[in-house]
């Protein structure tokens, strides 16, 4: 079963607007990561937030984590057409065989010029 679930499934905005994507998960995590995938390409790591952190910034990206609600959000500010891609959250879950990275279904973001 999917550990992480993103919403919305698809988001279309105008250039310059902010984009917010949400991720919910079910079990305790070591950390949560966000990845980006351009069409036909592999995934690229964007940002990691540990379970004891609440907010993290990287350039135009802001990630929040609420472990009590088992949810995270990714905010992209001042979006650009080049931000058009699919965005996935991935939860790093402690298991007996070591941590396991499980991906959600992704949010397809379209930024219109």
């Amino acid at each position: 079963s999917q550990q992480g679930e993103e919403d919305p499934q698809a988001l279309s905005i105008q250039e310059g607007e902010n984009a917010t994507m949400n991720c919910s998960y079910k079990t305790s995590i070591n950390n949560l990561q966000w990845y980006r995938q351009n069409s036909g390409r592999g995934l690229v790591h964007l940002i990691l937030i540990r379970s004891n952190e609440r907010e993290k910034h990287s350039g135009r990206l802001r990630v929040t984590l609420d472990t009590s609600k088992k949810s995270s959000s990714l905010l992209i500010t001042a979006s650009r057409a080049a931000d058009t891609a699919s965005y996935f959250c991935a939860t790093d879950v402690a298991e007996t065989s070591g941590s396991r990275l499980t991906f959600g279904e992704g949010t397809q973001l379209t930024v219109n010029p």
């Binding site: 070591n30 592999g42 995934l43 941590s99 991906f103 279904e105």
Partner: protein, 117 residues
Amino acid sequence: GAGVSQSPSNKVTEKGKDVELRCDPISGHTALYWYRQSLGQGLEFLIYFQGNSAPDKSGLPSDRFSAERTGGSVSTLTIQRTQQEDSAVYLCASSRQGRLSGANVLTFGAGSRLTVL
């Protein structure tokens, strides 16, 4: 190498044939992962290697799927007697730290797109 390399980038095969997909991870990355991504879907975990051993094969969908890794480097994912439902993009990723060493950040290859006719 500078990144994770996968080959072939595209493979079209007939139902019932065997296919081999190759992954060349980043030099020095001890952990290697295979995922499968169907069209418009998320990533489905298949198998994880730490060095040459595979402590977690739980995601392999059937015994037609197997993978090996030699020399702690190149990995091959083999699908025997392919079925149409095997059609997907097969993504390989590597990690310096692996699953036992804390934050596990993956570097992905571009994937191998498999189409079974």
